[in-house]
């Protein structure tokens, strides 16, 4: 571990090594599957092989005859759930099949190997009905959802868009698509479930122990205090572990049938492509209008995307378009197709990631149409206030990010003509794009601070560290909040035994958990002073922030990308990316840098690699492993130049921080796409940009 400062008050902002680093690299940090439990059983799921219909028969006799078999659970013998209103979670409650890959049963055995073998021996017969599993632009059943994810309105309109568009000096009308993508954290979704005397313990890989506790308690009809969720270390989530999925319910249902014995269930990589969420494919039409000087007069962003017939998830794809640039008129719409598919869900920056790809690619095309440098074009359309709320921004440094990035990247002498530079067999191009992400403030988190003697303070909050570095950042925040050094903090997180913490989602974790800790520290000093007695403790919740009535709060950033495209093969490589961010105060420079690198790498991945291929005949993703579903290897990631603007935002929260988990993916795919266009002169609007789409 690095040496750290002992002076108090300077912990926030320090470039501290992860305090859990040594445990992780020595394999001693227990992930969900690795908690020691006595006498465990192993679960392997039985999944539907049709996309829609009914299970008419299940013959488990061959499976049940195997030595080491314990039981087969299906809708015929599964315990009844108390609340089946969430149809994603209401598994094994009927013979109905709503998508291919849905859980229709499970085998529980003494070993994993027997469970997997037995699952393959279970014969299932079906009554199959016609299904629709592919998103189509001309689907006549497209509908308008009541609202979007996170409560955003479905459609917005300001000014007369049609009039502004028809009278604009320069116009653009293009269609951009993004494919279905799967989150695929390194650690698959995992549960160990144990029922003892009516109490359920879940060792869970999750982005929120308390949200799992609440959902599971409701589904099983239990008092919350009868469900304990333990999740001290989590191997990534990217949103797919933000909401509990059916795998958790399946493990808990199975364990209920074998009271007193823990049941372990970890998904295989292939199983990660059904039932734990994904990013909807999107079809986006963007129309832009501008005057002779390149001031936008009309923005229209119309989105078509999918959801599942059993549960609605409406990605807020066009929300960033509602405020990022100034315009006289603006319209955004979202339409959904409800299909016989698994339920889409959160994937890193739901909404902003696909929406800002389309908007920022369109902005690049429009800059060219207006004969303006793409940075200048964006600066020219910088708004004074947030168009969505009518409020001023608490801080907005997009222009500073663009200018600083241009300097660092060496943008100044860029020749805008496409396909004009070649080095050896490589066509070389550069691209830029903006980024933005809202400051979400989820309510309800609480923190306990207790003086434990010897100058040491316990800080307890049920927060989840999904690999972001929350263990370390929360210690830094606690040290400054309480006014001690980081060595004096005993942080306890990742367990519903500790006070409620909201989900690690919406880039809100550190900001709201940290706010609760600051509030608890303030109350603690108020009640117990500077010289507390051992055992003195307080609990406080994240206070409301009255400034949200006065200011719109968003983070911003800008990317600069160099892309190289092989002239013979159209292979795309990205030797360097630069990201400059304006995200308030940075809590830990080291882990923050990792977050930005991770986000930008995922943007690179979105631009060039990721695509879940659905075969409409069967209804499932056919490229369901890492050999076929590509994400970047180390060799694909070049130099990542990460920096940030010093931004003092006194309105967001006591730390002055804005949240950084998602902004790095927002817009970065567009910067790559724009660089590929600059290199080749070919505008690929359908992600991912693979050689087959560039070869002429």
């Amino acid at each position: 571990m690095s040496t750290t400062t002992r002076t108090t008050g300077g912990a926030i902002g320090a470039s501290l090594d992860r305090i859990d680093g040594p445990q992780k690299v020595t394999g001693t940090a227990p992930y969900a599957y690795e908690h020691h439990v006595d006498n465990p059983l192993y679960l392997f799921p039985i999944r539907s092989e049709i996309a829609r219909g009914r299970v008419t028969g299940i013959d488990a006799s061959a499976a049940e005859a195997l030595p080491g078999m314990v039981t087969v659970i299906t809708h015929e013998n599964a315990p009844q759930l108390a609340d089946t209103s969430d149809r994603e979670l209401a598994i094994l409650q009927s013979d109905e099949v709503a998508f291919r890959g849905q859980y229709i049963g499970a085998v529980i055995a003494e070993t994993f190997e027997v469970a997997r073998h037995a699952a393959g021996l279970v014969e299932v017969s079906y009554d199959e009905e016609p299904h629709e599993a592919e998103l189509r632009e001309n689907d006549s059943d497209l509908y308008t959802p009541e609202q979007l994810n996170a409560g955003f309105p479905t459609d917005t309109e300001e000014g007369d868009v049609d009039e502004a568009f028809s009278s604009a000096a320069v116009t653009l009308d293009e269609r951009y698509t993004t494919p279905m993508e799967h989150n695929n954290p390194m650690e698959p979704h995992t549960t160990i479930a144990l029922w003892e005397t009516g109490n359920l313990t879940l060792y869970e890989s999750t982005q929120g122990a308390h949200p799992v506790q609440r959902t599971v308690a409701q589904v099983f009809g239990l008092d919350r205090n009868r469900v304990r969720v333990v999740a001290p270390y989590v191997g990534g989530g990217f949103g797919s572990k933000g909401l509990p999925h059916a795998n958790t319910i399946l493990a808990a249902l199975a364990a209920r049938m074998i009271e007193g014995r823990p049941v372990k269930f970890a998904l295989t990589r292939q199983q990660m492509f059904t039932g734990v969420g994904y990013r909807t494919p999107t079809i986006q039409r963007i129309q832009l209008g501008a005057d002779e000087e390149g001031h936008l007069t009309a923005i229209d962003h119309d989105v078509i995307e999918q959801t599942s017939k059993i549960k609605e998830f409406a990605e807020q794809t066009a929300v960033a378009t509602r405020s990022l640039y100034a315009t006289q008129s603006r319209r955004t719409t979202h339409r959904l197709a409800a299909l016989d598919v698994p339920v889409p869900s959160w994937m890193r920056a739901p909404g902003e990631a696909p929406g800002m790809y389309a908007l920022e690619a369109a902005m690049d095309e429009m800059a060219i149409a207006c004969n303006l440098d793409p940075i200048e074009f964006r600066i020219r359309n910088e708004p004074e206030i947030d168009a969505e709320t009518g409020l001023p921004y608490s801080s907005r440094n997009l222009v500073a990010c663009l200018r600083e990035g241009a300097k660092r990247f060496g943008w100044k002498d860029r020749d805008p003509s496409p396909r004009a530079r070649q080095e050896g067999r490589w066509l070389v191009g550069t691209g830029v794009a903006s980024s933005t992400y809202p400051v979400f403030r989820l309510p309800g988190s609480r923190a306990t601070i207790r003086y434990e003697g010897d100058g040491r303070y316990a800080v307890e909050i049920g927060a989840a560290d999904i690999g972001t570095g929350a263990w370390t950042a929360l210690i830094q925040i606690s040290a400054d909040a309480i006014g001690v050094s980081i060595e004096d903090i005993n942080l306890r997180i990742g367990d519903t035994t500790f006070p409620f913490a909201s989900v690690a989602g919406g880039s809100s974790g550190i900001t709201v958990w940290g706010s609760a800790i600051f509030e608890a520290a303030r109350v603690f000093r108020e009640r117990h002073g500077e010289n507390p007695s051992e055992g003195d403790e307080v609990q406080a919740r994240t206070p409301d922030n009255p400034e949200t009535e006065n200011y719109a709060m968003h983070a911003f950033g800008a990317y600069f990308v160099e892309a190289r495209v092989d002239v013979d093969t159209c292979e795309v490589r990205v030797p360097r990316m630069a990201g400059v961010f304006a995200v308030g105060r940075i809590i830990n420079a080291k882990t923050a840098r990792s977050q930005f690198i991770g986000g930008m790498t995922m943007g690179l991945s979105m631009a060039l690699h990721e695509e879940s291929l659905v075969d409409g005949r069967f209804g499932h993703v056919v490229n369901h492993d890492f050999a076929e579903y590509h994400i970047p290897t180390n060799a694909d990631v070049g130099t990542m130049d990460i920096s940030w603007i010093d931004e003092d935002d006194p309105y967001v929260n006591p730390m002055g921080s804005k949240g950084i988990g998602e902004i790095g993916i927002v817009g970065s795919a567009a910067a790559v796409a724009n660089a590929v266009h600059h290199a080749t002169g070919v505008r690929v609007r359908d992600l991912p940009i693979t050689p087959d789409k560039l070869l002429r």
Binding site: G120, T569, D615, V622, H624, E628, P632, N634, A635, D692
Partner: protein, 328 residues
């Protein structure tokens, strides 16, 4: 995954005998492909006979000036071998373009030749596949087939062979040495793999119980001027969209001799003999290289998603030959 027995044979004859006795047994070497397929339920042997220690793990000189590669030579060792790197560089490059460092350490020369296809439908027991279940139909012909064959496919199967190493060996005129119930046989590598025809379940011409014990590289002067070019969607750890292995001998601007093999285009590594014939005795220039590629690709039959492989193959054949004529 079905339970299976595991045994380690004492010698090659014992391994062959063990397979002859057990009709649903398989040889196990590195296991980098077979074990994965067993987990997926695609391969379901009753018994595995471990042959890893039975064949040579060395590269040896042959009397004719060629090299004999033991079937147990790991891919990483073969790629690093000095004689391979200097006399047959395309083979070393092909090996290093394949898989990952960890896999190359485990994977063997014999096993690499017997890799099964990466067709997503073949690897998924819930979808029809003639290669896995003859007569069930081919899901790829009207499905996602970007990675599938443009040459030599049949109405029953459009799968491709995934090996990089084998493509280089095809270009280098390699021979395969096989031990079977009837003793040893040695034959050109082109006769090892088959086109799918109406028996797509058969990848190779090997009979049950036949074990690859070595691969021979004949002496081939032009092989010292050889190269492997692999096109893939990411910089490492991806199967080829298309690859080419080529060797070229140019004298006074004229092609004296040439070898070309393609990967990622067919059910087997594709020796481009038509292109080779068209080039011998012709001036070594870009126009002729393109024209030769066009002749080879004349019979290409693209599917819904893979028409791009035709210009791609054409471009990298020409580019690789140009590189070889410039580097000479």
């Amino acid at each position: 995954m079905k339970p299976y027995s595991y045994q380690r044979a004492e010698d090659v004859d014992g391994a062959v005998a063990a397979l002859v006795e057990q009709p649903n047994a398989k040889f196990l070497a590195g296991g980098t492909n077979l074990v994965d397929l067993m987990k997926l339920g695609v391969e379901e042997p009753d018994a595995l006979v471990d042959v890893r220690r039975l064949t040579s793990d060395h590269v040896e000189d042959l009397d004719d000036g060629g090299l004999r590669i033991g079937a147990a030579v790991p891919n990483s060792v073969l790629a690093a071998d000095r004689k391979i790197r200097t006399r047959y560089p395309a083979l070393s490059q092909a090996l290093l373009a394949g898989a990952s460092g960890q896999l190359r350490n485990l994977a063997t020369t014999g096993g690499n030749l017997l890799q099964r296809t990466r067709c997503v439908y073949w690897q998924d027991v819930t979808t029809p596949c003639n290669k896995r279940e003859p007569g069930s139909g081919c899901s790829a012909i009207e499905g996602h087939n970007k990675n599938h064959a443009i040459l030599g496919a049949s109405e029953h199967c459009v799968a491709t062979h995934p090996s990089d190493m084998a493509v280089a060996m095809y270009a280098l005129d390699a021979f395969v040495v096989v031990h079977g119930p009837d003793g040893e046989r040695r034959f050109p590598i082109e006769e090892l793999h088959r086109l799918p025809g109406d028996e797509p379940q058969r990848d190779t011409t090997l009979e049950h119980g036949e074990l690859i014990t070595a691969v021979d590289l004949p002496p081939l002067d032009l092989a010292a001027n050889s190269k492997y070019r692999k096109v893939r969607e990411r910089a490492s750890y991806a199967f080829a969209l298309v690859s080419v292995a080529a060797a070229l001998d140019v004298e006074d601007g004229v092609v004296r001799d040439v070898r070309i093999a393609l990967g990622g285009v067919a059910h087997k590594p594709w020796r481009a003999t038509k292109a080779e014939e068209a080039l011998r005795g012709e001036p070594a220039n870009e126009a002729n290289f393109h024209a030769a590629a066009d002749i080879e690709l004349e019979d290409a039959q693209p599917l819904r998603d893979n028409a791009f492989k035709i210009p791609l193959a054409r471009n990298i054949i020409a580019r690789t030959l140009l590189d070889l004529s410039e580097e000479r």
